[in-house]
């Protein structure tokens, strides 16, 4: 599963739409659309500044949801990536009602696995993608498996988006082995994937990857964006 993350509405709705279509055109399996929150504690400087710029440009959460609804029938799996407050304050049930037929799942950066039930108890019906990290312990695996998401989001680094992962580290490979032993769910490597070589390594140890920071860095220039996301796939067979 090959995926690209882009910031929703960045730098404005039209450009975002062009990038969205480009991800589909280049043959990716899924797209993650970030809905901006102005305290992005999981994001490094590149994505954080794109988020802040989007908000300053007056793009609202509603604008991004509207444009996702427009793309409902575009043939690609769609995920939202955002922060807890956006879903909570929009209205947990309302968010779910408006988007459950539009997106395939949601990644909420500051909603750890054990807090998911709070959202489900309030009527949230969209699959919330579970996280595995370098810190995941044996006892955390049950709550990871116990999920209606079709994949696990593996955070390959200790840090924020944009940092570099080491896919050859024993620690990382051990964690993935541990997950493999206990679950059939697909393992998608997020955080730290930047180059075609990274993509190849991530595909060797996991079932897929998502590239965020380096895609967002090019989101203002559709040509540069497209040639970059094409180049990422050069070293893997489709």
């Amino acid at each position: 599963m090959k995926g690209i993350y882009i910031v929703g509405g960045y730098p404005h709705i039209d450009k975002f739409g062009e990038c969205f279509k480009s991800v589909v055109k280049c043959g990716y399996d899924f797209i993650e659309v970030g809905i901006p929150f102005n305290d992005p504690v999981a994001d490094g400087p590149v994505i954080a500044s794109a988020i802040n710029e989007t908000i300053e440009n007056g793009i609202s959460v509603h604008d991004i949801i509207e444009s996702l609804i427009e793309f409902r029938d575009v043939p690609i799996k769609k995920y939202i990536m955002t922060y807890s407050n956006i879903v909570y304050s929009y209205g947990i049930e309302k968010f779910s009602e408006n988007l459950k037929s539009v997106i395939d799942g949601i990644i909420i950066a500051d909603l750890p696995n054990r807090m998911r039930k709070l959202f489900y108890n309030e009527g949230f019906k969209i699959p919330i993608v579970p996280f595995a990290t370098l810190e995941t312990r044996e006892k955390d695996i049950e709550i990871i498996m116990n999920s209606d998401s079709d994949f696990i989001y593996f955070v390959g680094i200790r840090g924020t988006t944009g940092a570099k992962a080491d896919f050859t580290s024993a620690e990382l490979i051990e964690k993935i082995k541990l997950l493999r032993k206990r679950t059939d769910k697909k393992i998608i490597i997020g955080f730290g994937v930047k180059t075609a070589d990274d993509v190849k390594e991530a595909m060797d140890i996991g079932d897929g990857f998502v590239v965020g920071t380096e895609a967002v860095r090019r989101q203002k220039d559709i040509d540069e964006f497209e040639s970059y996301i094409e180049s990422l796939l050069e070293k893997i067979s489709s």
């Binding site: 102005n38 407050n85 312990r137 955070v155």
Partner: protein, 390 residues
């Protein structure tokens, strides 16, 4: 008041990156194991007594009491080493860090009082220490920046967002994710993910406990207990031992220049429920679900969230939360300085201002106010206003 599964009623929880969950579990386990251990309690008491200067007195402020016809008692946290209540929590969590075997401490600071307290504890216990501080706060609280550096702490100025306390907390959370294995995040207010609000309340509850003992020795309890609220650490510490009594509890937030969006930090007055920096509580946000700009003349109250225990006490009706505008806090600052020879922090001045400005309500009552810190750190701000006009 203990949390249930990390929540106080509907408030609290752990809204952080998954990477931090094992660290929060470790912290909770360590805290629960040491809080009952004689050795830990003995060590904490010794440092609070010999190093920080506890217990602090409760002072009957005769002159200001006479002027306003109210019996005003001040809990003198301003007399502590480093000048504010923040040292109580800094020492407690520093000892906890030692027990956890971690070698590095990070913290956020707004007014710089917590930063100085942590830098002090780090110097004494021999930890590496990094403090995150918004660059605007650093400018308006320069003496504290200089103190932290003298104490051997690395001060990292935060230039994102509004460059104040919120942004310092975000930067500290990011550092923690990177360095979680050997670093403890010594949070300074009763905010953040569980178990931080509980830990901070526990270490600050000494304020209320000593106060209650003082009044019990006089044979009565105060009618009102009043404290300022930013995140809410001195207030929750002050309230803690009075929650089960009949004493009326009042938290005073910063009204800034007005209750219009962006001009105050009065989270409980005008905020809505939301999730921010690890906790579900009230917060100042706009109609696009983004954190609102905040303002207060006092850097220590300048925060768009509030601790989950306060949200809970408010919704349960156990405590009342009010707000005071910048210029009234300055007026109280001037009154206490001139009448009692005590220069209060601008944060604490908010608590006093509410009493002075509502003197009819408090006439003849026994009112205990938490004087959470001293005001020399605020000279940079005071110099810019003309106190004659206040």
């Amino acid at each position: 008041m203990r949390p249930h599964n990390g929540f106080y009623g509907p408030f609290g929880g752990q809204f952080v990156a998954e990477t931090l969950i094992p660290a929060l579990d470790e912290l909770e386990e360590s805290f629960n194991s040491v809080r009952k251990k004689k050795k830990f309690i003995g060590e904490m008491k010794r440092y609070l007594h010999d190093f920080a200067g506890r217990p602090t007195p409760v002072y009957f402020a005769k002159n200001i009491s006479e002027k306003y016809g109210i019996n005003i008692y001040l809990k003198r946290e301003d007399l502590l080493h480093t000048g504010a209540h923040k040292i109580n929590n800094a020492i407690g969590q520093a000892i906890l860090t030692k027990y956890m075997g971690k070698k590095r401490i990070i913290a956020e600071t707004g007014a710089g009082q917590h930063g100085v307290a942590v830098a002090t504890a780090a110097a004494m216990f021999g930890f590496d220490c990094t403090i995150y501080m918004g660059s605007i706060d650093a400018e308006r609280q320069m003496p504290n920046v200089k103190k932290m550096k003298l104490l051997g702490t690395e001060v990292k100025l935060v230039d994102t967002g509004l460059k104040t306390l919120k942004d310092a907390v975000s930067a500290a959370l990011k550092d923690w994710v990177f360095n979680v294995a050997h670093t403890h995040y010594l949070i300074g207010s009763a905010v953040g993910p569980h178990p931080f609000p509980e830990i901070v309340a526990y270490f600050q509850s000494v304020i209320g406990r000593e106060s209650r003992e003082y009044f019990e020795s006089l044979g009565f309890l105060p009618d009102f207990v009043i404290a300022c609220v930013g995140g809410g650490s001195n207030a929750i510490g002050m309230f803690h031992d009075f929650i089960t009594s009949d004493v009326k509890l009042i938290g005073v937030e910063a009204g800034g220049t007005s209750l219009n969006p962006g001009e105050n930090s009065a989270t409980l007055a005008v905020g809505k429920k939301g999730i921010f920096q690890g906790t579900l509580s009230y917060l100042l946000q706009n109609e696009n679900f983004q954190m609102e700009d905040v303002h207060s003349i006092s850097a220590g109250l300048d925060y768009p969230g509030v601790g989950p225990q306060h949200a809970y006490l408010r919704d349960r009706g156990r405590a009342e939360y009010v707000h005071v505008f910048d210029n009234r806090a300055l007026h109280a600052f001037k009154e206490l300085t001139g009448l009692e020879g005590i220069i209060p922090a601008l944060e604490s001045s908010h608590a006093l201002a509410f009493v002075i400005d509502n003197r009819d309500r408090f006439k003849g009552k026994n009112v205990l106010i938490c004087l959470s810190g001293r005001g020399d750190k605020d000279f940079g701000i005071i110099e810019k206003v003309n106190l004659e006009d206040i």
